[in-house]
Every structure is written in C-alpha cells, then in structure tokens.
C-alpha cells in the first residue's frame, strides 16, 4: 500500500489510471455485452455504484472529498479497492470520528449491503484489491502450525505472539486480533491499514494468508483451553511478575503477618 500510495502521486499516475479504466471498461464490455444475465449483473452493479455514491456523499465526502480524491481530513480513496472499504467500514473504523493517534475500531454503523455499495463505488474510482471470497479466507482450510510460523515471522512483532496486540510509536497500536472476522484479517493483510504493512499475494500467497487466518482464529478463539490455568492476558512476563508479586509474595506476607500476630504473647495481652 505504501508503495502504491507513493506511485499514486506520480505525474503519470492519472494517465495510468485512465488507461486502466479504459481497458477495464472495454474488457468488461467485450466480456459481458453478449450475455443477457451479465447485462442484468452489470446493471445491478451500476445500481450499487449509484447507491454507494449517495452513501459516500453523505457519510464520507466531508473528509475524503466529493470525488474520493482526498482532502486535508482524509486520504484519497482512488485505487484503494473494495477490500479497503470493506475492512475500514466493516470494522467500524470508517467513518472516522474524533481525530486521535489512530482511528479506532468501533461498532460498524453501515449494514453489509450498504458497505458493499460503498465498496462498489470506491472500486469504480480506480482498480484496487477486491473483497476476497469465502474460499480464500476460510480458516478451516488452513494449516495452523504453518500459520503460526508465518504469524511469528510477519505479524508477532506488532500484534504479539498470540495476537493480543501491542504498542507502536506515539500512541499508535496494533490492535488485538480477538474476535476479528476472518474476512477482515484477509483484507487487513491485503490493504495494510495505517501503520500495518501490506502483504500482497506476490509476497504472501493466498495459501499463506489462509494459514495465518487459521492460526489467528485458533489462538484467539474464546474456547481455546489455555493450558496451565488463567492466561494472564498472554502478555509475557510483565503481567506474570505483577501477578507473582501480588498473589504470590503478597499472600505469603499476609500469612506471615497473621502467624506472627498469633503468638503466645499476643494472646495474653
């Protein structure tokens, strides 16, 4: 994403986008024009884009500009793709509210149907990664052990070994991955929101992504039987130390006070 956003500002970028768009529409037309069903498809597609445009105008244009070209309050959305919209709006990050170090996740305010319309509209502005299909992100198909290896290599430095999240600079953070929809995990890797790097299929093939999703899904699932007792947040030795001081040494000192108070002498007086 970072590479893409740099290239976006290239003087020839507009030309490239235009060419792409022309080629895409031309290609689409050639592919779908003869078939009647496809016609219906593309018309429902254009209805979605129309609807999305309306939603966009009321909910998003104040920050991202009337045509998605960006403003001082939000980046350009040309070429971010449907996946980025589905992730950002689907996790409730967009529309953003108060400014802060990082746009937080919250309860999404659009329905999935509306999100699809928004995504269709943004995708129509310029080509970008599309929304993955269930087959691509279904954790059932993934290899947990391989996913664990990949996760520790690519993600644990920010999201912690068990996906519990971690701190980044200046109040930014990598969020906990608990309860995140597999689709959103896939999209996060595909689009690299904010500080997170992008993992396009060229560097991380589809199978690897599915393995990672399988691993995240397994470690963060609510019914994961944490071996050994309470997990203490799976945050490493800091919480363990705190727990040991308070409930280990603390309990022992309390007992010592109790024992010492029950001496023969104390009882007499």
């Amino acid at each position: 994403m970072k590479k893409l956003s740099v290239r976006r500002r290239h003087p020839l970028a507009a030309l490239v986008v235009l060419l792409f768009a022309l080629a895409a529409t031309g290609g689409l037309y050639a592919a779908f024009a003869p078939a009647k069903t496809a016609q219906a498809d593309s018309s429902s597609q254009s209805i979605a884009i129309e609807e999305g445009k309306k939603l966009y105008a009321t909910g998003c244009s104040s920050c991202h500009g009337p045509g998605g070209q960006g403003s001082t309050d939000g980046p350009s959305l040309v070429g971010v793709g449907a996946a980025a919209v589905d992730f950002q709006v689907g996790t409730g990050r967009m529309p953003a509210q108060q400014p802060g170090a990082q746009v937080p996740k919250k309860q999404p305010i659009y329905t999935q149907a509306q999100i699809d319309q928004l995504a269709a509209y943004i995708a129509s502005l310029g080509p970008g990664p599309g929304i993955p299909s269930k087959k691509q992100y279904d954790p059932k198909g993934g290899d947990i052990a391989a996913g664990g290896e990949l996760f520790r290599t690519n993600c644990a430095q920010c999201h912690n070994f068990a996906g519990e999240g971690g701190a980044l600079t200046d109040g930014k953070y990598a969020p906990s991955l608990r309860g995140v929809d597999p689709k959103h995990i896939y999209e996060a890797m595909l689009t690299g929101p904010q500080q997170m790097p992008t993992f396009p299929d060229t560097t991380m093939p589809e199978k690897a992504k599915r393995d990672i999703i399988a691993y995240v899904n397994d470690t963060t699932r609510a019914d994961n039987p944490n071996p050994g007792g309470f997990s203490l947040g799976r945050l490493g030795p800091v919480t363990e130390g705190l727990f040991g001081w308070i409930f280990g040494l603390g309990a022992l000192i309390a007992t010592a006070v109790w024992v010492a108070a029950r001496t023969a002498k104390a009882r007499k007086s």
Partner: protein, 543 residues
C-alpha cells in the same frame, strides 16, 4: 550425657532415644542440641521474610530436580510430533521439544514446571523484600555486614540463575532475551566480538548456549547458592537474631520463642504454607507459556518481549537509553547499549555497598543487635526509598509498551517521563521520605511528653475545653525513646588557638560533611530527655 553405661535404661529406652544416644556417642549430639535448640527467634512478621526465601529456594531445588529428569539440554534440530497440535510439524530444538513434552506429555509436568517458575518469581521478590527489611531496620550493621554481603550475593545469583533458567527452553521469548544479551556483550569495546564468540561457541545462536546455560543453571549457581544459604543461616544463628526495641529487649539478649519446639513447629507449618501458596498459584495461572511463544528462530520476534521481572530494571535501562553511537577509526561504539550495561551493575552495587558507606561516615564501630525503627534513621530511610523509586521507575520503563496499551498512552511519552524521573525521582523521594520520618519523630516526641490523645473532651470549671491526654504506658515510652541519637562527627578547628594549622585530610572533611547530613540538626528531632519527661508528667496533670 551418654547413657550407654547403664544397660537397664538402654533396654527400656524407645527407639528414638536409642538412636539419639547412638548419635551422641559419636558426634556429641546432646551438647550440640542443647546450645542450638534453645536458640531464640523473635516474633515479628518481617523476620519471616528470610524464611519465605529459604522455603521457596527449597521448592525450586525439588521441582528443578524433577524437571532435569525430562529436559534435554540440546540445540539439535528435530521436527515436533507431540501432542500439542498447533506446533505439529514445526522444526525446533530438542530443548524446546522436551519442554513441550514436559508440559503436555509428562505426568504432572506442567504443574511442576509452573511451580518451579512461580517459585523463582516469588523467591527473588522475597529476597528483595527481605533485603529491604534488613536495610530499613539497620540489621546490616556490625556484626552482620558479612551476612549482608552473603545475602546480596544470593540476590544477584538468584537473578542470574533465574535468567538462565528462563533461557533454557529455547523458545521465541527467551531466545530474544539471549539475543539481547548477545547485543550487550557485543557492545563491549574492543573485546565484544571475542567475548560473544567465546560465550556462544561461535556465531550466535550456535549449538552451545543451551547446554552451557544448563550446567550453570542447575549445577554451578545452585551449588554456590546452597553453600551461601547455609553460611547465611549459620551466621544468623551465630550472631543471634536482631530485635526491635521494647521493654526487656536489650542489645545483649533476644526475646522470643525458643527454636524448639514452638518456633520449629511454626516454621515447619510455614514451609507448608509457602509450598501451598506457590502450588495454588501454579495450579491457577499459567507462567511462561512457551508453546504460545513458539520455538526460537533468529528471524522472528514478538512484541511484549520482556525478561522476568527481576531483570526488568535492566530492560528499563535499555529501553530509556537513547540509541547513541560513536564511530571511531572504523569501529562503532554502541553507547546506547554499552551505557545501560555499565549502569546495570551500578544500580545493584549502590545498595550493596551502602552498609559500608554508612559505617564509614558515621564512624560507628559498636555492635548493634537492636533494630532501628526506620523513622529514627531518616537519612538511611530516605536513601532506601530513593533507591526503590529508581528501581520501580526502571521497571515501568521496562514495561513501557504494556503501560502504553493498557493506559492508552504514547510509548514515547512514557519513555520521556521515565528518562526524566530516572534523575529527578530519587532526590524527590529522598526529601519527602526524610520529611515524613522527621514528622513521625516529632509525633513520637509529642506522645512521650504529652501522652496519647483519648478523644475525650473535658470542660474545665472556668469554661475551657481540653482534650484529655492519657500518659503512655512505661513500656511504650521506653520503645519510643530507646534509640540512641548519635552526634555528627566533629573534625575540630583547622587552626587551633595558637594559630597552628592542623592538617585535615580531604576525606575527613567529606566524612564530616556526610556525617552532618546523617545526624545533623536537620536530620533528627531530639528525643525527649528523661528530665523533660519527668517535668511534664510529674506535673499538674495538664494536657
């Protein structure tokens, strides 16, 4: 003592006595026992802190032995096929594999592992608090300086032995810790690279660290520690225990329970309490979930990579240090790592040498068996609290990422706060503590002279209201006035009345200045003299 010459009693004697008689004939058991079983141990909860250390040390040894039966200290590579599904088929070292096996396939293995680890956490914490009690009560004064030193060595070795143990499973977390250690070793000027190659038997990580750490962790350090613990306890018995001042408690006696049988019963019970609490902890909460960290690979790292808490202050030092570097003649001096490496032992040494500095400054060569109440030694107490504040702020620095995520702060802001606090907090803590101590001394003085406030308000015939003060019982008065208040050292005039200049060494001047700081006017409130007490209490029942 021997009763062997009386055949009759020998026949009737129960087996226990027979055995004792046997031992007496060989090693003089009865005389040994007579002198030692009547050892007195005073009753105060803080005197049981040492016991907490002792018992958790024993627990660590017992559980450690069990773990060695199953642990393989080898970095040879294997593919995992054990019962923990999320790691099946993953390449790892034998050390890591065997730790997984202990956790999931050895009966009771996970519990024992957790007892071992939780006990280590409690052990070092206990030592720190034990050291604090010895520090704040002045129990380290003559003749116990050697025992203080033994204790301090135990603390340092406990820390390092813990670090080595934490490194053994060769998991991602501890591997990161070793990598960090490698970085610290490499930062040593000139010899860094050689040292690192020596330590790791070649390029990091190599195949030697785990077996080497294993030997040091289970043999070398525990062996030395065991010897030191025994010496430590022998000295406690030999010096006899200190006690807080009180009626009948003097510098020449010890008041409390005889070691046998009362104290022994209590101590034996307490051992089981310690074992019980630690086992409970281990049954309730996971510690060091190595399966979640994954095996160590130099190309991987996780956030929340911290050492166990007792090494946390070194982590703090490294995290708050700016990443300075100097390039000189083709060599890089990594000050950002080297300076913390130097400061790390200094933080520990500061507390270790304090007793010797105090005795030098105060010139006090007397024996002390009565403890100080911390308020009656405001400078020492202030310094101790300053040290604790430094230690704590470094711990905060070491866990800065967790403070950032859990309190929604910026990690950079926390780091800056810790940097400033590192220099500012200890002096502030010192000043505040000293003031509090002096305030408490003033209150003690009030209490001795004017008695305890009863809360009863009385109206005098002429209409004035007064609160009735009840004189303190004699014992309490003694307790509050038993401490002595040394005078600061005087070096006298440098020029005597005849105008002859006397040579005063620079060190002596420093010493007099420091002594003034310890015992000068600003550092203690004169305790009531017997005359003052007499005058006021004998008087006219006034308030």
């Amino acid at each position: 003592m021997s009763t062997n010459d009386n055949p009759k009693s020998r026949e009737k004697a129960p087996a226990g006595q027979k055995a004792a008689d046997w031992a007496d004939g060989r090693v003089g058991l009865y005389n040994l026992a007579k002198s030692n079983l009547r050892k007195i141990f005073p009753d105060h909860w803080s005197f049981m802190l040492g016991e907490i250390c002792l018992y958790s040390f024993i627990i660590i040894i017992l559980t450690g032995v069990y773990l060695t039966l199953f642990f393989k200290p080898s970095m040879g590579e294997v593919v995992y096929h054990g019962s923990y599904v999320p790691l099946q088929g993953v390449r790892m070292s034998e050390a890591y594999e065997s730790t997984l096996n202990i956790s999931f396939d050895v009966r009771g293995g996970l519990l024992v592992r957790q007892i071992h680890h939780w006990a280590a956490i409690v052990f070092v914490a206990g030592m720190l608090v034990h050291m604090m009690r010895v520090f704040f009560t002045g129990a380290f004064r003559k003749p116990r300086e050697i025992n203080w030193t033994f204790g301090f060595l135990l603390l340092v070795m406990g820390m390092f032995d813990g670090f080595l143990g934490y490194s053994l499973p060769d998991d991602l977390l501890s591997g990161t810790g070793i990598r960090f250690m490698e970085g610290a070793v490499l930062s040593v000027p000139i010899v860094g690279t050689y040292l690192s190659f020596f330590l790791f038997g070649g390029q990091f990580p190599g195949f030697d660290v785990v077996p080497r750490f294993f030997t040091i962790h289970i043999l070398l350090l525990p062996g030395i520690m065991l010897g030191l613990v025994v010496a430590h306890l022998i000295l406690v018995v030999y010096h006899k225990h200190t006690q807080f001042p009180g009626p009948g408690k003097t510098n020449k006696n010890v008041v409390g329970m005889p070691l046998m049988p009362v104290y022994m019963a209590k101590a034996g019970g307490f051992f089981f309490v310690v074992f019980g609490v630690i086992t409970l902890l281990s049954a309730i909460a996971t510690v060091n979930p190595i399966w979640a960290y994954g095996p160590y690979r130099p190309d991987q790292v996780s956030t929340d990579a911290q050492p166990d808490w007792y090494m946390g202050f070194s982590e703090g030092l490294i995290r708050i240090m700016p990443g300075w570097e100097i390039n000189f003649a083709g060599h890089t001096l990594v000050l950002g790592v080297f300076i913390p490496l130097i400061v790390f032992p200094l933080v520990l040494t500061a507390i270790a040498v304090y007793p010797f500095i105090e005795s030098w400054v105060t010139g006090d060569k007397r024996e002390h068996h009565l403890l100080d109440r911390p308020r009656n030694a405001p400078t020492r107490t202030g310094l101790g609290v300053a040290w604790i504040s430094l230690y704590l702020i470094l711990l905060v620095g070491g866990g800065n990422d967790l403070f950032a995520t859990h309190f929604h702060l910026s990690i950079n802001a926390i780091t800056w706060v810790v940097r400033v606090s590192f220099f500012v907090l200890p002096p502030v803590a010192f000043i505040i503590t000293k003031r509090i101590c002096l305030g408490l001394q003033r209150r003690d003085r009030e209490k001795v002279l004017h008695g305890r406030e009863t809360g009863v308000i009385k109206r005098l015939p002429h209409g004035e209201f007064i609160e009735v003060h009840e004189p303190l019982p004699q014992g309490k008065v003694f307790e509050l006035t038993a401490h002595d208040q040394p005078k600061p050292l005087e070096i006298g005039a440098e020029v005597d009345e005849n105008g002859v200049v006397r040579k005063v060494k620079r060190t002596q001047k420093v010493r007099a200045k420091l002594s003034q700081a310890f015992y000068g006017e600003g550092s203690q409130i004169p305790k009531p003299t017997p005359q003052e007490h007499e005058e006021i209490t004998s008087g006219h029942g006034h308030h």
